[in-house]
Symmetry: C2
Amino acid sequence: MNPIKKRKLGHVELSISTMRAMVIDMINKANSGHPGMALDAAPIVYALFHDHLVSDPKHPEWVNRDRFVLSAGHSSALLYSTLHLAGYDLSLDDLKTYRQLGSRTAGHPEFGHAPGIDATSGPLGQGISQAVGMAMAEKAISAQYEDGDKIMSHYTYCLCGDGCLEEGLSQEAISLAGHYELNKLILIYDENGSTLDGPTSDSLSENVKLRFLASNWNVLEVKNGNDAAAISNAIEKAKASTTYPTLIIVHTVIGFGSKFQGDHKTHGEPLGEEDGNYAKSQYGYTRAPWDIAPEVYEDFKNSFAKRGHEAYLAYQKAVEEYRSFHPEAYQQFLDSFEGNLDKYIPAMPEFGASEASRASSGKVLSAFATSIPFTMGGSADVAGSTKTNIKGIEMFTAENPSGRDVHWGIREFAMAGAANGMALHGGVLPYVSCFLIFSDYMKSAIRMACLEHLPVLYLFTHDSIAVGEDGPTHEPIEQLAALRSMPGIDVIRPADAKETYGAYLCAAQYRNGPTALILSRQNLPTLDNSDPEQVKKGAYIVYQPSKKADATLIATGSEVSLAIDASKLLEEKGIYCDVVSMPSWKRFLEQEQSYQNEVLHLPYERRVSIEMLSTFGWRAFARHNIGIDEFGASGPAKDVLKHFGFDKDSIAAKIELLLASK
Amino acid sequence: MNPIKKRKLGHVELSISTMRAMVIDMINKANSGHPGMALDAAPIVYALFHDHLVSDPKHPEWVNRDRFVLSAGHSSALLYSTLHLAGYDLSLDDLKTYRQLGSRTAGHPEFGHAPGIDATSGPLGQGISQAVGMAMAEKAISAQYEDGDKIMSHYTYCLCGDGCLEEGLSQEAISLAGHYELNKLILIYDENGSTLDGPTSDSLSENVKLRFLASNWNVLEVKNGNDAAAISNAIEKAKASTTYPTLIIVHTVIGFGSKFQGDHKTHGEPLGEEDGNYAKSQYGYTRAPWDIAPEVYEDFKNSFAKRGHEAYLAYQKAVEEYRSFHPEAYQQFLDSFEGNLDKYIPAMPEFGASEASRASSGKVLSAFATSIPFTMGGSADVAGSTKTNIKGIEMFTAENPSGRDVHWGIREFAMAGAANGMALHGGVLPYVSCFLIFSDYMKSAIRMACLEHLPVLYLFTHDSIAVGEDGPTHEPIEQLAALRSMPGIDVIRPADAKETYGAYLCAAQYRNGPTALILSRQNLPTLDNSDPEQVKKGAYIVYQPSKKADATLIATGSEVSLAIDASKLLEEKGIYCDVVSMPSWKRFLEQEQSYQNEVLHLPYERRVSIEMLSTFGWRAFARHNIGIDEFGASGPAKDVLKHFGFDKDSIAAKIELLLASK
């Protein structure tokens, strides 16, 4: 694959060269960026946008647009250049501030920063899993509605490099995609033979094609990555698939055009002016930086923008028709995309006098999933334990894509990544579930939900050493601290069944980020004074002693009832403690200072936190912290609890001691 | 596959039935456990122990034994039963306390709890990655020493189910194993068609065989999982491989023998007495619980134990001979397994007046790796950035397995998992490296290192928003809190080059758990009063103002010099602050109270923490916390730092304000 010889460029060559020149100039101006793949992938993105992608740059949030996820997020310069040329609201000035503070063109694509960015990417593999979630959402929505294909029918494209494919996350995601026969998912693999540290062959000798075939994908191959027509043909073939998702392997040369093309050194360093000019000369590109040929704008306008706008208009017409035939379904469809949940919120279910909060959650989830017809979710193979099996909700399968119960398999990371994709896509309200300990496997995807401000709901059960026999590998200790420390997530640990319902109300209300519910395996008494509405405030006094309190016990989840029991015991000794249930730190810290002072009305030194997990972070609220700062143990739950001092006598004794200390 | 008909059992059948009966009885007695795979995999484990595994139950820590990792850790009952029968120091009484508090037979296999447990497992996929690390260590050690195969030559076996294979982690691990041609790694896949939530086909339709072939593995298949001879033959074939690792797919029936065999319901619930007796009758097994036939002990004694002990004795002889021919090499070999590092510790390298701590780390690592000939490690494709490329250390490849520089590819989780395997194996001292933000991808494997008390060294660079242009997806915020909250890990964030050297000294000293070094991308001045030796104490006063301090600034890493600058500025205003460098919370909290009081000699309210990451947890040391509790931003580092107020003027102003507040 030699650089193109000097001659007058045809319109395809001119457009692609312009994209490449813009990439060089953006990265040079920023003096930062990753030109390698951004240069070699230009023909791929050109072929996709010019010939296939259906999206209206004037209506970038159109729900039925094709989605495009640049999983190789370090190639952002190519995406931004293309979005500009394609007519999105992204100016040359925006491009000139590439990687600058406050710019719309951040170092990696950031969802919400500029139109046309369908997902945040950069952490490798996550773009693919998000694309899989989008394709699942499309398939599900299209099947869930009568004549659904009239309101929801589009492709999901994703572009990745070796990095994404080496991440195990990608295997989980492609395995799911093949299993669900996501035939409208098209993944393009820019195979440029190079990673950051050297040739790909230093660390990869796997047959990628075979790996995808093993997961029930079509695999197409384009030998010459500069042959936009061949790439376009491959995409055309891929779109015709009626069963399998398609991988298109496109062989490219990293840093194409540079003196160092083919060398991994072009991956992450700007080309600089000299090599940049050299590369442009290799393309036969002669224009000054930022001086875009009008023909290039025309080229995109007459293809991508025209096709997209026509499709958009046709969709508006189709949707009007749909509305007249299916007014209720259409309203639901609108509600699902706009996140109008208020009218769907179910009443609080009946609870027992004592039940595990995972069981309460199961009841509430069932009520929510039944009354909100666009919820979709499930568990990473522990549905029976996390209580996400819902009566009357069918399994989502290749044959029954209208099902809303997803059996994710033992793939926590892809589950969370795909849930992000679903939330980005809209039209479904995703929830996912596993044991709290395995939130570790999906941590980076949860962070991504925070970054993208996505209302994903996590149901994490088995939330303490009360897991018992399974032992320390299955007993969370520091997981709650890890979740709470993440900006933007609402972590709620309800004390009982009523608070569990309240936690769901919070999740339904919070549309600007994810919510994690932390749920017990073991039974919890339903408390006299617990209140679903108070959960929204993050913390409240749930128990008051018979005399004016001289200490405050702050507890969450299963430890609230324990704290109340301890308070009662202490009262016999003349120590009066009120008990604060603090299901959500985030919500409490967002309350007005006056409310915070009201709840935590005693001095810092007179407060004791009680939580059967790491005390890490609790000093923010209480001078004294009772928790577990070591790993758990295997044994019957009651023995393990006793061993770690989480019975009422031990707790009361500990509190007495702590309050007596200085 | 019908249950075996009633008749007098041959010795193979008797042994296998005994193993199964013991599994049933253990789980019934505990009233907790996972009989499903433990029952169906009995012939696999029998064939392995009886015919192949080379290990001396009387010398379970023999370095050249074959390793066996039960990646499907929930089948622990089968492992314990087998270890008992095979002659390990694990009594019937131990088995009778299965899953009880303080027992040696925990719910999942816990490394160190009983002999013969080569790895902790349970979190799915991690056993496989640990086995890959063990096989890498074996291959490397064998190649690194002259006549190395005389002192290191064994197989690594691993048994897994669907769960492990669905986890993306397994793909990373098997891809590495194929790439490195770990021909002595044998993975047995118990294909029982069932996961916890239902038939495997609900969530998996991938062709596992093809997936492994794609990663350069041999694949063998055994149709009848009860045919121990066929399984044994397959293992024999696998052992003959000279190039590829081998997967043996064994088709089994979950919960074999139970009335509910083949049903996923047998996965996680005890069979109970009635079904247990039914199952035993299906096996033709007639003995009372815990009444083990002497022939079974004999069977293992005459095969496994005899073979193992002979091999052990032969090895002792060979090793004596080796010692006489290669006394120095042998001493190094001993040191590597015993962790005798003292004599290898290099002097502090020369540092510049200002350098990034990742660069200082590169120099120190180079000195350590050069003087400790058994270090082995590398980076997840960011060696150039994390400075783990070491001059003179060759790349570990299939062709050059004596190399010690591992190019892990973009596989953080498997990298960390394999490093655990290396540390478990012994003989190599593993270090791994990536950007701090991607510690999220490997969190569960880091936790595993803590649980297993393994001295793995993590080098995490790019430790703050000073990453700059790559933006929020690449800028750690809450990662440090997540690491610090983990029990057992020593997290060290050195302030400069000298402290970086000190951090390596700490890591070399701490053999009971992992150490994470948190390193800067940007330059840091080498401080006047920093001291490598003081790092061992976790914190010390690194700067004192000209008059008696009335406030203490506690900082780590890049913020120590910033705190000193701020202190100098504040002095002009008559505010005198001493500065504490606190590279390691863990170490500081382990000091005597008197030392802690000496360093933090001012009242809580007069202390301010300064760290360019989440403040989460810092209230443990200081009333006032300066940090970043939101996501970062993309832009040149200096602009981003300024934006978040991490320049000396802003910091000084903020400190003044905080100290003035009540």
